[in-house]
Amino acid sequence: MISEEILAQIKKTQKFSDAAIKLMHVVNSVNYSANDIIEIIRYDSKLTAIILKMVNSAEFGMRRKVDSIKNAVSMMGAKKILDIAQEIYTRMYLNKPLSGYESDGMWQHSLRTALAAAQLAPLCVKPYDTEKAFTAGILHDIGKNVLSNFLGNTAHSFIDNIDRHRLHDYLEAEESKLGTNHSEVGELLAREWQLPEFICQAIKHHHKPSLAEEEFKPIAYIIHMADIAAMLSCSDQGSDSLLYEVDTTYTDYFHFSGQELEEIILVIDMECEQIQKTFAEIGE
């Protein structure tokens, strides 16, 4: 049972920009055109300015200056610009401290999960669209932005109870204190913002994918495994890092070897480092 205070907080929580929400719907459409992306981004001046700064940075090595979103899309492709746009607006939203989780910000973990999800999507026994997997991955923990203020200084006692096996994991710890968890609240927040259904379902089931409806099981398992890969590669998300259970039924959806998982982690680290270098270079 979710308290009235938490429900009120969901309604009050600052929303992504209109352009960001529109881009998530573009990802969900089967056939989007370069023009769809240009038309959305060009009316968001802040997003446009940062994208142009990024694509003109040394990391991208462009020979001539890119001076418009239209040029950026024609030179780098719509998919790449869509990825960059998502990295920018989630960074603006998720790179804030969350005291309830003793976290400096969720963005790096969210980005790692998104990069892992894009790697895992084609390996799923029911292969999934990599762009949709990336988007669901980067948003999977948005519920923590709502719950953080309600958790107070609970981290020490949560961890103590998990260590002593009084609680299974951090999800159960959240429930013991608040009667809900960040997956459930994240789904409600995604619905409040009218995000596409696959994102709502992935957020809701990312810790317990076996409970997802059949249609949404692939994306739920992809985000579940991507979250784990991200925690293993760098567990910087906060007090809850590593303290979640693997849904062992994942083997129904993935048959990767230890070496294949290691290769995925290597790619996450390489791509994440590249993206962080670019943000550092442009001073964002």
Binding site: S103, I228, C234, S235, S239, L243, S257, G258, I265, L266
Partner: protein, 170 residues
């Protein structure tokens, strides 16, 4: 890798796959938020040089190009490159001349088999130590704990920290 001057001391901050060493007593070497990664700390009692490498994966044969780009990333190449780096401060470059401390190699709850990369990292590093006929003088490995690892060059003491837990030392 970055050298940060806090005013009180200097901190050599290592990212994933980075390595670094120094003999400056006013410096700490630190690496943050290890999941399945392992921090290998080498202490040279003769030259008072301290080094650390942030190992992410057990075996560099997984990808040849990354081995050259970031040798510290893998257990097999990471320890070698750290020993090489410590020679700048007069160290012998021989592993058996060092004291070794290890931290990290964690997993998520119920992650076994292919998912337990932490265990494979620990095994790879311990095998290298066995080949060189040495044992770690201290370690804090495995479990479901995210570890930030800081070694104080002056004393060789390794401080471990994790959000929501009190610091502990090895």
């Amino acid at each position: 890798m970055a050298l940060i001057d806090t005013g009180k001391n200097k901190v050599l901050l290592l990212g994933i796959g980075d390595y670094g060493s120094t003999n400056r007593a006013d410096t700490e070497i630190k690496t943050m938020a290890l999941g399945s990664c392992v921090a290998v700390v080498l202490l040279d009692p003769k030259t008072k040089t301290v080094g650390m490498v942030h190992v992410a994966l057990p075996d560099s044969n997984i990808q040849q190009s990354h081995r050259t780009f970031k040798p510290g990333y893998f257990a097999d190449t990471g320890i070698k490159i750290l020993l090489q780096d410590m020679k700048r401060f007069g160290s012998s470059g021989v592993l058996s001349d060092m004291y070794v401390k290890l931290a990290g190699g964690a997993r998520v709850i119920k992650a076994e088999g292919v998912l337990d990369i932490g265990r494979r990292n620990i095994e790879a590093i311990k095998n290298i130590l066995i080949e060189n006929k040495i044992k770690p003088v201290a370690h804090d490995l495995a479990g479901v704990i995210s570890r930030t690892v800081t070694v104080e060059v002056k004393t060789g003491i390794v401080r471990l920290s994790c959000p929501g837990r009190d610091d502990w030392f090895i």
